[in-house]
Amino acid sequence: MIIDAHVYLGQSLFGYRQDAETLLRRMDQHGIDRAFLCPVKPIGYDLAASNTAVAAAVREHPDRFLGLARVDPWLGEAALAELRRAVETLGLRGLMLHPWEEVIAVNSPLVDPLVAYAAEHALPVLVAGGHPRVSHASQIGDLAGRFPQATMIVTHAAQLNISGRALFDSTLLFTGHGNLLLETSGVYRQDFLMSMVNRIGAHRLVFGSGSPLYDQSFELARARNLPLTSEQMALIMGGSLAQRVSGL
């Protein structure tokens, strides 16, 4: 079974868009069985509306989609209330933090109650990683250290840096925090991914595409191109997530 840990649904304020039918067509074309849906920040900035739309897509295709809830930590108690609604009323199954698009440092105290709620309910937290000033690997490390019981999926291995200057911090992050899973989209250097397989184990790497911002077909090729055993590949393609996330 192939699970894409990181796709977006909806029309984003930031220009990108993907509807459920387009996504399903792409998944079918690439042999992807299931996907974690991340709500976009919509035109109008209403993340609650995006959570509702993601929940509707999950209800329509429960065998293909698993939905994450997205909230704006700047809203304080209202953010926690929306997370509760998204999980307890809408049935979403994890928390998505996008520090870049929400313009907040991932280790801000405002984020803590949200991650605490996720940890308490055994929900995975997907963090858009590697963005300068808000989700640098060292900042994610600060958060991960305060919530060692929370399973976090860190996109782009927290290193959106094509010069390789972020590889050292990324290595420190994942070797230092066993509660983190490394998501593969856009990651610089295949030999870095292999070094991480050797350091932390294939069971802590997960395939994600970041579609439609990143090309789902090419990102799948990126993960599949790694010289792994079939057991290791099965973990990265979905086994790792199935071990950590209940109901998969």
Binding site: L160, G186, F218, R222
Partner: protein, 256 residues
């Protein structure tokens, strides 16, 4: 189609943890069906922990039909860097200059950088810049070098990285001496966009191998939806023509 990779590395770096002797890139080129590659080191000379110029030159000597080299230099060293460049081109047959403004700590349009680029251009030799998302590597910063050296061919390695591809295409539209090189930039469709914006003649396939897998990087170009003619140019013909113009002897060697 004889595929020519514009950007690969041969070096051994303890500080970066990258140990890439020439056999590694040759093996990956064979797997990917790549005929030739441009190699360069991971450190800037002078001041590299090993003599990267000699290391790269030895690799070319071992695989003369497969590898050609760029001299990776630090413009901060002024005349010393220029002398190394001249030696690299005239004695070792190297094909141009590689500049990594982050590891050098030098702005692309710093007069010392410009002087080195001009020196390379006197041999008809191009300059490949690391061009990503950090200060000193941004397309509009490198545009300053392209403007100051209209006689030099300037290659934007990684064509702007993750977040500056729009800027890379914009400066390539503005300056006809700028080429865009595809390595590690993660979006296949943006290669097609670049070809449509500036023409296939100024887009070069590069892999940044062996760290980035050359087969995967080639797959990205093949997925971009280019015509056969465009792909032939991008994957080798453009680079072949560019490097054929490099002169390894003559007046330029003595012209300070």
């Amino acid at each position: 189609m004889q595929i020519f990779d514009a950007h690969t590395h041969v070096d051994e770096s303890e500080s970066l943890g990258w140990f890439d002797p020439p056999e590694k890139i040759i093996g990956l080129m064979d797997e990917a069906g790549i005929a030739q590659a441009v190699i360069m080191g991971y450190h800037d000379c002078p001041g590299a922990p090993v003599d990267a110029i000699a290391y790269v030159a030895a690799a070319v000597e071992r695989y003369p039909d497969r590898l050609v080299a760029l001299a990776r230099l630090n413009p901060r060293f002024g005349a010393t860097a220029e002398d190394l460049l001249v030696e690299a081109i005239t004695r070792y047959g190297m094909k141009g200059l590689k500049l990594h403004p982050v590891s050098c700590g030098m702005h692309p349009a710093n007069p010392m950088t410009v002087r080195l680029i001009r020196r390379a251009a006197q041999f008809g030799a191009p300059t490949l810049f690391h061009c990503g998302d950090e200060d000193y590597t941004l397309p509009f910063e490198i545009a300053g070098a392209a403007e100051a050296c209209p006689e030099a061919s300037i290659i934007l390695g990684h064509m702007g990285g993750y977040y500056h591809v729009d800027d890379a295409i914009a400066v390539a539209r503005r300056y006809s001496n700028i080429y865009l090189e595809t390595s590690a930039m993660p979006y296949p469709e943006r290669i097609k966009e670049a070809v449509e914006a500036i023409g296939a003649e100024r887009v070069l396939f590069g892999s940044d191998g062996p760290g980035c897998n050359p087969w995967l990087e080639l797959q990205k170009v093949r997925q971009a939806g280019l015509t056969v003619e465009q792909e032939t140019l991008v994957c080798g013909e453009n680079l072949r023509q560019l490097l054929a113009a490099v002169r390894h002897t003559g007046e330029a060697a003595n012209d300070h």
